[in-house]
């Protein structure tokens, strides 16, 4: 039996309801805020009449662009709320009501009368939009466009070709805890309990916006109810709460209403992806083009880097990977679990399935034939890459061999049954972090680092890494995380938390042991403290490409009467470095895969062309998976030893689970029905004959 891994250190608090989230700190005198979203798709605020709102019993204040504290510009204009009369998109905040009670704040917000000078708006993404351009960089700093070899020539002469366009709609993170902040100013110091993925980023941004030294700002994120990217950097709630607290002189609580999130916390942008694969008769790729068209807002350029996986996955001597983007009058897109990779791999891995059909090669075998030891785009060898092993192990566990490749070859009564496969991929990121390790005279250890546990098990894995580096039992290590007053560290994002934090923690712990050793193994009264910073340890341009890989297998049923698609089995096998806590790692994998089920079958909102908002904004109309949607989900991994990564030998695991799921399911739907759905989600009408 392998080690099941420890249970979460904060687990008891979470199951007894004592874990406190951002909206659950209530300093004396706390006032409650409720935002007023713009009700036009674009234009200008002409007037705000707060009279009726201020007449509500319990009213404290109404903040508008005319009276709100002034902010300094930082690198994210979505945070410049209530600074001018411009309405760049529907749902942009135009006022904030503050009251003694949450009930009064809500009533006040409804009573604020805003008049607008509407302007013409343009919110619909089309592949031929005249204002499309190629950005210099897409998200994560990747080049907007890359060419290698001669794609056009190689594609034209390829004996087997696939040319397919895949579309996806806007997706919304919807963590269960809506964005919330409780903020208070005291003697020029700001304390904010904020639901975020990294308190340092929030602290630094608030310092810039309010022109306050960051040493005078504390941001606490002890427990965070999920993020999936949409709490990666500060969002408007923390700015508004801090503004309102400064304006009213009282602590202010702001929890964003669920239905407002889609407009102000980011979304995964809709994408049109054209894939062209040229291959030999054996299915080996000679030409690959992945061309992405997407939108951003007029407030902030964010380009979902969906073509990126095609730069990394398979042999492709001749390649073109491009992004085109148009700035529309829409809410600003942002990170959502595996930005780029999740939708990009949906397109690439469906195209691979189409190539397998066209070449008459088994889809698992096709991927094996196109495996590469080096990252095609950079030419760098992978530090470790066990995609083929994942495919083989997954095929074995899933029973892939018995599969009849012909579409519509399996029926059970009125159900068609199909199976599909796709690869998973997510790159490894490390970011500089600092940590502190302390030992008491009695041999108790305390590790301090501003890691953030958004549900990943960060607290627990930090303790595990520390215990291992120190060479002591886990129960001798106490961990403090989740506050900007702790040693600064990278945020919980890009699947880079554990690697980045662990590196710093490992370094601090080893330094502490060296200090103890230098004293002949004794600890003086008052204990010893070691600090570490990895800024100089993390190579800016490592000689190896580093990434996690995996393979996912799906079995679906399609009801021939209703078109309802349900996932019956979903199996993932991953190669993601050394798994540090099996218990929580499994949860990360299946959690990502579950979100992938949503992406495949349920999720996707509609940009309302007339009103300029996402029509499905609440959890009744935007369907995330329920218990009943998730059956037979399994995750396994291959032990991978890779000394080139970091001191722990770990890779990130928070995002790879969602990468490939949608393709595996869509490919299974094709196998079940013969219908190739190239537009997610796979709703009943798309397969109903």
């Amino acid at each position: 039996m392998s080690d099941p891994g420890p249970v979460r250190l904060e687990g008891r608090e979470k199951v007894t309801g004592t874990a406190r989230y951002a909206a659950e700190h209530t300093p004396p005198g706390t006032a409650y805020a409720w935002p007023v979203p713009a009700a036009v798709p674009r234009g200008r605020v002409v007037a705000v009449d707060a009279g009726a709102a201020l007449a509500e019993p319990g009213a404290v204040a109404v903040l508008t662009h005319e009276n709100a504290p002034r902010l300094k510009r930082v690198d994210d204009d979505t945070l410049l709320v209530l600074q001018n009369d411009q309405v760049p998109h529907r749902g942009w905040y135009v006022a904030l009501a503050v009251a003694d009670t949450p009930e009064a704040a809500r009533a006040m917000a409804a009573a604020v009368r805003v008049s607008y000078a509407p302007e013409e708006h343009d919110v619909v993404l089309t592949p031929g939009h005249p204002r499309l351009y190629v950005p210099e960089k897409a998200n994560a700093g990747v080049p907007g466009s890359r060419e290698r070899g001669d794609f056009d020539g190689a594609y034209a002469s390829a004996p087997v070709r696939v040319d397919a366009t895949y579309t996806t709609h806007a997706l919304h993170n919807h963590p269960m805890e809506p964005h919330a902040t409780t903020a208070r100013w005291e003697d020029g110091r700001l304390v904010a309990y904020d639901s975020c993925q990294g308190a340092n980023a929030v602290q630094e941004t608030l310092a810039g916006l309010f022109g306050v030294d960051k040493g005078r700002i504390t941001v606490v994120a002890e427990h965070v109810g999920g993020g999936f990217g949409c709490k990666g950097t500060p969002r408007p709630q923390v700015v508004l709460a801090a503004m309102a607290a400064r304006h009213t002189g009282r602590p202010v609580r702001l929890a964003l209403p669920r239905a407002q999130l889609a407009a102000v916390v980011g979304h995964r942008a809709p994408l049109v992806q054209r894939l062209r694969l040229g291959a030999g008769e054996d299915g080996v790729i000679s030409a690959l083009a992945h061309e992405v068209t997407t939108h951003t807002s007029t407030v902030r350029e964010f380009v979902e880097q969906a073509a990126v996986p095609s730069r990394a996955m398979y042999v492709s001597p001749n390649s073109r990977t491009t992004h085109r983007v148009v700035a529309l009058d829409v809410p600003s897109p942002s990170w959502m679990r595996a930005p780029g990779e999740a939708p990009g791999m949906y397109a690439l891995e469906c195209a691979m399935d189409e190539l397998a059909c066209a070449a008459g090669v088994d889809p698992v075998e096709l991927r094996v034939r196109n495996d590469t030891a080096a990252e095609p785009d950079s030419g760098k060898p992978y530090s470790s890459r066990h995609l083929v092993e994942c495919l083989r192990e997954g095929a074995r566990r899933f029973g892939w061999e018995a599969r009849d490749p012909r579409p519509r070859s399996r029926a059970e009564g009125r159900l068609l049954v199909g199976t599909g496969v796709a690869s998973s991929y997510y790159p490894v990121f490390h970011m500089p972090s600092s940590a502190e390790a302390h030992v008491t005279e009695t041999g108790r250890y305390r590790v301090r680092i501003n890691a953030t546990d958004i549900g990943t098990g960060a607290r627990t894995v930090v303790a595990l890494i520390a215990a291992e580096a120190l060479g002591v039992a886990l129960d001798r290590v106490a961990v403090e995380i989740g506050s900007s007053d702790l040693p600064a560290a990278w945020l919980a994002g890009g699947s880079g938390g554990t690697g980045s934090w662990g590196w710093a923690v490992h370094k601090a712990c080893r330094a502490l042991n060296a200090m103890v050793d230098a004293r002949g193994g004794t600890v003086p009264p008052g204990g010893l403290t070691a600090t570490a910073d990895t800024a100089d340890d993390i190579p800016s341009d490592p000689p190896h490409a580093m990434a996690s890989f995996g393979a996912q297998f799906a079995e679906v049923t399609v009801d021939t009467d209703t078109g309802e698609v349900r996932v019956r089995r979903l199996l993932g096998v991953f190669a993601a470095g050394r798994i540090l806590n099996a218990r929580t790692a499994r949860s990360q994998f299946i959690g990502g895969m579950t979100m992938g089920v949503g992406m495949a079958l349920l999720e996707g909102s509609t940009m309302d062309p007339r009103f300029g908002d996402f029509a499905e904004r609440d959890l009744a109309s935007y369907h995330v998976p329920t218990h009943a949607d998730v059956r037979g989900i399994e995750a396994h991994w291959i032990d991978e030893t890779d000394p080139l990564l970091n001191p722990m030998g770990s890779k990130g695991i928070g995002e790879i689970g969602i990468v490939g799921t949608a393709a595996a399911i869509a490919n299974a739907v094709h196998h079940a029905t013969g219908v190739r759905v190239r537009d997610l989600p796979v709703l009943p009408e798309k397969v109903l004959g």
């Binding site: 979470k14 309801g17 009670t101 109810g225 669920r258 959690g591 218990h627």
Partner: protein
């Protein structure tokens, strides 16, 4: 004319303790009464519209979305929240099972999942069918066996965005098997 009275005294018995809220706004939900007036923040506000289940508590023994219950209408009710499930330091078996099975990640839906599971187990034990209970299989009143399919359907009013569903079902099975 007197302005209409828009607040009232409300008494709730929460986890066995009687609380009298002397002047509660009629608009206040049971959820907000718990969270903002009684300091019991275990029940969560995920959507405020009964679309996510994070606010699930037991009211007079039955699970309900506390975000849609006006407290004034539940004057005198017996409410059990996640804070009331454990017996002192001894966790409820479901709480233990959630820990061992890792039936949560961020923890925000967890109090609702736990209260919902407690209520759901009692409902099935009392013979209440679900939409996946084959018609005619269990005599009315006889307990409905909680297969994984039954658990999934009956727990579907509790969303978990972290995707801990499989582990939650395993935890419930640990307790009901």
């Amino acid at each position: 004319m007197e302005p209409p009275q828009t607040s009232s005294a409300v008494t709730l018995r929460v986890n066995g303790v009687r609380h009298r809220l002397r002047d509660l706004d009629h608009r206040t939900t049971v959820l907000d009464a718990l969270r903002e007036h009684l300091g019991l923040t275990g029940a969560k506000k995920g959507c405020d519209h009964a679309q996510c289940g994070a606010c699930t508590v037991l009211v007079d023994g039955r699970r309900a979305n506390s975000c849609l219950l006006l407290a004034v209408a539940y004057d005198g009710a017996e409410v059990t929240t996640v804070e009331g499930l454990a017996d002192g330091d001894a966790l409820h078996p479901l709480q233990e099972a959630f820990l061992v099975r890792d039936g949560f990640q961020c923890g925000y839906c967890t109090p609702g999942q736990l209260c919902s599971a407690v209520g759901m187990i009692a409902e099935a034990g009392g013979g209440a069918p679900s939409v996946v209970t084959p018609p005619g299989t269990a005599a009315a009143g006889a307990p409905v066996p909680l297969s994984p399919e039954e658990i999934r359907e009956r727990m579907s009013g509790n969303l978990c965005r972290c995707g801990a569903y499989g582990n939650i079902v395993a935890a419930v099975e640990d307790v009901t098997r």
